[in-house]
Amino acid sequence: MLDLLLHLFWTGLGTVRDVLPIVLVIFGFQYLIIRRPIANLRRIVIGFVYVVIGLTFFLVGLEQALFPLGELMAAQLTDPAFIHGAGAVVEGVRWQDYYWVYIFAAAIGFSATIAEPALIAVAIKANQVSGGAIGVWGLRISVAIGVAVGISLGVFRIVTGTPLHWYIMVGYIVVIIQTARSQRTIIPLAYDSGGVTTSTVTVPLVTALGLGLATAIPGRSPLLDGFGLIAFASLFPMISVMGYAQLAAWWQRRAKVHGSEE
């Protein structure tokens, strides 16, 4: 109990330290440059207090419940004894043996993204600005699918030991082709969703998975091969969000064509 309170206290202090530069910049500019009172100051201050307390509880809860289990799981799933069966001696690395790791990567990527507060914020904003045309859940689920595919593929890359930049370059080419064919309104949002996905929930879990794999597989170095999963997780949502918009537009066109035929 005392441990928990101490943990809350230190995490709270850490969150305050994160917010401090933002508050300093905003109030500094407000009072020195803009020199106007802020409207609804009381409400805004209460909002910031909510954000700090909320984030503190969120982080402590994650560290209490999800991170230890998730990290333990990443270690157990990548353990040679689990993958090849206890006592088996296997020569080399066969990528097919790691199917549970790919499934885990996809599942944890998807579900962590759904729980990501920053993505919820962007989805709410996009929904407001588009007048409801972009659904909160539509956006979040397509981003989550992108992260799931991305992390799975990133894990496959660590297992096979293929160079990171090949995947990233091919991904970029796909993004460029999709950009040329997408509606202009979705492009900035799709680009943003790449950076948004990777924060509080996803990064620690994914990092644990990457390091666990790179340590367990012979011939991989955790220092060199453990990196790169975050890059996958920020590239693929761009593809899936633009893909979702293209699919939605296609459906609409199809529905129209069918409607006019009848």
Partner: protein, 248 residues
């Protein structure tokens, strides 16, 4: 009072829906795939309640504090009409939030280890600390510059994809000449810079700016700041790696 309670309950239900998938995934893998009991069930339940409560409060504070502040600042600068101070604000916001980012501090320390293992940095604590600190500074400056470019783009109404794709081409070109040990870190650094507090604030700022300028569309012009903030660190970190090699 009663409507407030109903509002809060509705938010809690929303948070339960947000968190259900990850709880289900963890439980499934633990119980079915690994076939192990869940250790410390009491602790975990407390943790889940904390996460729920925290997410609910955060969403509440988002609408009360972070979004309005971003919009208010955008409005105030638009009315003041000073381009210089708006861009200075954008830089300060990007630099200030990134320099203190804990995820970045962790990545920079790991990067220093990688560099030491590769023999680019002397294997002493001092040399590694210098490397990590320089790297952090590089990333913070790059995010500051990202927001400056992003805000300037909103004012001018330039399409986001030309700039971003141009940036990617630069990333690919630099990958060819950058030292091997920096590439993975450079690619990852794009993702770690945008924290949970910065994202809503920066998004509200961009959308607010696009809304105050009459001929801008908030969807087309307002979004995109985060994309810049995740792109420039890759370019700057690779440039850092190349320059560090040349100097050393």
């Amino acid at each position: 009072m009663q409507t407030n309670i109903i509002r809060f309950l509705r938010l809690i239900v929303g948070s339960i829906r947000d968190l259900a998938p990850i709880v289900a995934v963890v439980a499934f893998f633990q119980l079915v795939v690994l076939q192990q009991p869940i250790p410390d069930l009491g602790n975990i339940l407390v943790g889940v309640v904390f996460v729920l409560l925290g997410l609910t409060l955060f969403i509440q504070g988002l609408e009360m504090g972070l979004f309005p502040v971003g919009e208010t600042m955008a409005n105030a600068f638009a009315r003041k009409g000073s381009l210089f101070w708006l861009l200075a604000f954008a830089f300060a916001l990007g630099f200030g939030t990134t320099a203190a980012e804990p995820a970045l501090i962790a990545v920079a320390a790991e990067a220093a280890e990688v560099a030491a293992a590769a023999g680019v940095v002397a294997d002493s604590k001092d040399a590694q600390d210098t490397y990590a600190f320089s790297l952090r500074l590089t990333v913070a400056i790059s995010v500051g510059i990202a927001l400056v470019i992003g805000v300037f783009r909103i004012l001018k109404g330039w399409p986001v994809h030309y700039l971003i794709i141009g940036g990617y081409v630069l990333v690919v070109a630099m990958t060819m000449i950058a030292p091997n040990e920096i590439i993975g870190i450079a690619y990852d650094s794009g993702g770690v810079t945008t924290s949970t507090i910065t994202v809503p604030l920066v998004t509200a700022l961009g959308v607010g700016l696009a809304q105050t300028i009459r001929e801008r569309n908030p969807l087309i012009d307002g979004f995109g700041l985060i994309a810049f903030a995740s792109l420039t660190p890759m370019i700057f970190v690779m440039a850092f790696g190349i320059l560090w090699d040349l100097a050393g």
